[in-house]
Amino acid sequence: MKKLLTVVISILALCAALAMGNAALNQHHGQGSGRLLTIYNWGDYIDPALINKFEKQTGYKVDYETFDSNESMLTKIRQGGTNYDLVVPSEYTVQRMKREHLLAPLDHRRLTNLHYIDPQFLNRSFDRGNRYSVPYFWGTLGIIYNDQKVSAGDVQHWSQLWNPRLRNNLMLIDSARDVFAMTLIAQGHSVNTTDYQTLKKAQDHLKTLTPNVKAIVADEMKMYMEQDEAAVGVTYSGDAREMMSVNHHLHYVVPSEGSNIWFDNMVIPRTAKNKEAAYAFINFMLEPQNAAQNARYVGYATPNRAAKKLLPKKVTSNQAFYPPARTMKHLQTYRDLPLKTLGVYNDLFLEFKMFAK
């Protein structure tokens, strides 16, 4: 019994010592809270060299944390107890955070580098006047195809995915919103349709796509497309870029009749501890040199006009990632739909997946 007690006590003592050590390390890391900037961003979504540069240039210490979905980020911020100074949500999440009063309004006088952003990416419907958000990267939903299996002319439009020649050769992304977006556009409707009858009709149309659908997958699509598992896939531009860098037979198309365009944006949560540093970071990232470096590292399209000029011509002239104006005109952003409607989207999608046999 005595021996056991000694063991238990020594374990507890060890735990306490470790906890203290951990706290001491954290304190050292922070060097006083006034100089600490806590960033909450998607994984692998910034050039780490830029963080070092920022720290050197401004003297702030950056604490960088990552998330993998808007929903998980939102849950964490909503529950409070976090002190992130800068977060990078997608546009529909910006809208929801705005509605739930989780964001601090931006003081435009302190955003000295905002003028570098291409005006077409400012004042979008999800945040009029950019009162709360500054665009970070943007991208699209589109079609990726393998030129060994289909010719480019066969996959320029959403409606062509219904072609019987693609039988059992199409991969869809496992997301109700995106799959419905492509179907709704193919039928000439808005990607933010809330009318049940229209959605039901879209689902009926989607069901006729079943013979072509090989699989409905998430991130694994990258691997499958790289390994020639299917001829055509519906995916995001960022993922497409990654696939294309591995398999040179892959190409990406944004259908000219329209598609979804998404934005990831820098915002400052209401609970931020160090707004000073957050503004400094936003301005730093808007600096054309830095934005260009970041775009080269991450590979997504930059909304920064001055930075775009600094990128290689080969990148910026690629219509797949920087679509021409006539396509841009038809791209639509997702609105944050009511939970009920989202439920309808997902139920219909689930039913479609069940039908997919």
Partner: protein, 269 residues
Amino acid sequence: MRNKTLFIIPYALWIILFVVAPLVLIFYQSFFDISGHLTLSNYANYLTSSVYLKMTLNSVWYAFLITLVTLVISYPTAYVLNHLPNKQFWLLLVILPTWINLLLKTYAFIGLFSRTGSINQFLRFVGFGSHQLLFTDASFMFVAAYIEIPFMVLPIFNSLAEISPSLINASKDLGANQWQTFTKVVLPLSMPGVKAGIQAVFIPSLSLFMITRLIGGNRVITLGTAIEEHFLTTQNWGMGSTIGVILIIAMFIVMFITGEAKQKGGRTR
């Protein structure tokens, strides 16, 4: 006596915090609709929707098939293992794969089954040409069975090991042949292991979801898929919890069926 109450504290805490509380929470959540009103609509929705009912049937059917395949492979395996020298070592080899992360194993299967994967390379080499292996029912069943087999082998192995050799000798002395000994002595005595194995395999198989997407390409839909979607995308926790409750009920039914039969069997013999 005081010591005993002291020792029960960790167990009680564990049970309350990690078994009872989550169950109560799931049950509680299942009575709220998406806008937070107290209602029975989730259950009504479940019972009237052809999508969910079909999905349930689907899940049960696949779980049944997986259990059957696993059992057919595991029983002879456990039987043979029991008669080998160094049987603990051979058993270890069967259990070894469970030490590797589930996701990793699944990804390994993608590498094997894909169009450019090892199996298709072999098939082409032998002259059979390449075949579509991923996203088929067969590949899904194969991977699911592969993952569940250790959980079936282990209880059967243990129940077989517990059978006293003297019983088998007695059976042979009394004139039973090999087959009779097996069906009349070994099989009935190993039934508890089989039932434990079925419980350990059937229930998790009902709600498999990672493999349905990775190997099945979402062409096999189980209740697990629906739960994942309700918790992660639609944020309709009520409906997700309702399906969770249904799964818990299914678990009790399976436990009841397998448990009851065991007692009855015990008495008649």
